[in-house]
Symmetry: C2
Subunit: 340 residues, 2 copies
DNA sequence: CAAGATCACTTAAACGTTTCACTTTGTCAA
DNA sequence: TTGACAAAGTGAAACGTTTAAGTGATCTTG
């Protein structure tokens, strides 16, 4: 038989409330609260009794209600440009994992590379009252940042004025890559950059370009979106064989470059050495496995989240920037150039 | 100069509250609420005025407060075993995207393959009061499910008694794969399965095995974890060359198989054809690109989320199972066997 | 023009917590 | 015996909303 008191009423097996716990334990609401939170001063026996009742009723806190009193929701937000870009899952996982250790949950938002969605996402997170945001912005422009005045935020990988940020040493990485190529004997080296409106991309490519120009010839410098699909300009540069090696600003693009080169009967690394940047998981699965620059993405994520909690816990308002080292990971996509 | 009214007081630029909006607009709290929600009956001029005031105050709803009244948090949960498994990001993205279209946010939890963390995750989500959960369980055992009596939940890919579920036609896919191999002329075919405690894995491999046995010889059937790293037993089977083709229950493993075969100088597909299952993004980047069985993961995610909202909106309690078709996507990892 | 009906708006209770202030009881030192 | 103090517990306000019920106006309509 269907119950139907008031139409539209939710099915009745609702979560037990603290008031119910208190009543069935025969204590005041306050005592119940103290018991489940381990605060206040309660006798051991009463506390245990309350806890026991709570357990048997299947009581679970209502974090919304608590948030409204305490101002803390127990949630943080993570804003990313594109989860299907293999660069991000590891980052997300690290953030989630670190948050969990603080008993926090994570709202993950994928902005699909759209600035509008990014703004929308921030709005929503604010309405949810998240206690902090880890933000990997679309670009370095900062219209969206103005919405974030009240929420502790740390930016990853990018630079937005007024926000704490954790980054890798992109210039250092670019240098490392170029150096590796030069040391391998290459003198004519090309660069395939990612989107140039991103500071960290400019940094790595500029550093590489500088080094290359000092020790040899920069054969070309072209730009491609974050994708394995290459723009005509890039294909042309590769086909030209103007370079015996190429530094690519992002692994995803580097994979595309290797694939395209091979499709054009240019052997990698025999005829074209390539080094990438990011050390995404695919990089070790490609053939040949991709030599690349690794940044400690996991550590960066941890640092970002910890910084967030440091901020909220200690109410310190520090504006700093922490930079992680990059390292060269040698695999098989680089070798000495064939003798001219 | 530091402000310090009461020690521990939060920095004061707090979000504007509805009460403040009401006061500065000179109307009652109720009117303000009606205005921002577009409910109730308000004169057009008052409504506009209130909206205007709200805007200038930068008012944003407090969803926690609203949740406590309405019982709806505007959030759903997504529980996944492992974000770094390339199978999942696309799923997560789809869920997030679909949720956004309903103005919902998504708590993403990565359970790292641990049943304990899975339970923990569910607890937390319940405490957050999510309006629904999309659940990709670790396995088909259901201890955790008992915690979920109050929350609308739909399970993806797996089967947990009592839960609505969206799946792909795994058996059909396995059949398709085996058929493809047989039609290519293979008569001795091996199977590398994923973890066998997962029903969907058993289904695809059983279907394949049946078909193979009807049309030729099942050379071996071994098992591996969801990883590119292979167990000794699997390596041995491949090295044995007992089969000219192999069906692998998951692309990730298939990639490992191809890689290992090549490392053993077994050419793929010339000496060993392989077909995978899942069509993860890497599958098209490998060399050779992997022939595999595609399931419409994006559509499945959408269906899962929509089913959730259907449940909460219409208060229907339907227990069903929707199954999506799988398709063969032919790439380059299969060819006719060399003449014996 | 009286009686409803409609419109525009307000009052106040309720949601599930936390926490400050207070009361009661018992202990112990002087 | 008294008073101070600590321990154990309670009462009630507050957090920011939503919404049922109520209140005057103004508008219809016969």
């Amino acid at each position: 038989m269907q119950r139907k008191k008031k139409p539209g009423a939710l099915p009745p097996p609702k979560r037990a409330t603290l008031k119910e716990v208190a009543k069935t334990a025969g204590v005041s609401l306050a005592s119940a609260s103290y018991a489940v939170n381990g605060t206040g001063s309660l006798g051991e026996s009463t506390r245990n009794h309350i806890l026991q009742v709570a357990g048997s009723l299947g009581y679970r806190q209502n974090l919304s209600a608590r948030a409204i009193r305490t101002g803390k929701t127990g949630a943080i937000g993570l804003i990313l440009p594109d989860l299907t870009n293999p660069f991000f899952p590891a980052l997300a996982q690290s953030v989630i994992q670190t948050a969990r250790q603080h008993a926090y949950s994570v709202f993950v938002t994928d902005t699909e590379g759209s600035a509008d969605l990014e703004i929308e996402a921030i709005r929503l997170l604010v309405e949810h009252g998240v206690d902090g945001i880890v933000w990997f912005p679309i670009g370095d422009s900062n219209q969206a940042g103005s919405l974030l005045t009240n929420v502790p935020t740390v930016v990853i990988d990018r630079t937005i004025a007024g926000f704490e940020s954790v980054q890798a040493d992109y210039a250092g990485g670019g240098h490392l890559a170029a150096e590796h190529l030069v040391l391998a004997g290459h003198t004519s080296i090309g660069i395939v950059s990612g989107p140039t409106d991103i500071l960290s991309m400019r940094q790595r490519c500029d550093a590489a370009a500088n080094y290359i120009q000092q020790h040899g010839k920069l054969a070309f410098r072209v730009t491609n979106g974050f994708s394995v699909d290459l723009e005509p300009k890039v294909k042309e540069a590769i086909r030209s064989r103007a370079a015996t090696a190429v530094f690519v600003g992002a692994d995803l693009i580097a994979l595309g470059v290797m694939q395209y080169a091979q499709s054009q009967k240019i052997r990698v690394p025999a005829q074209l050495s390539v080094v990438g940047f990011d050390d995404i998981p695919w990089a070790q699965m490609s053939s040949p496995p991709l030599t690349t620059i690794d940044m400690p993405l996991g550590d960066m994520a941890v640092e970002a989240v910890e910084a967030l909690f440091r901020r909220t816990d200690e109410h310190v308002e520090l504006r700093r920037k922490v930079v992680f080292d990059t390292t060269l990971v040698e695999r098989a996509s680089v070798q000495r150039p064939a003798k001219g």
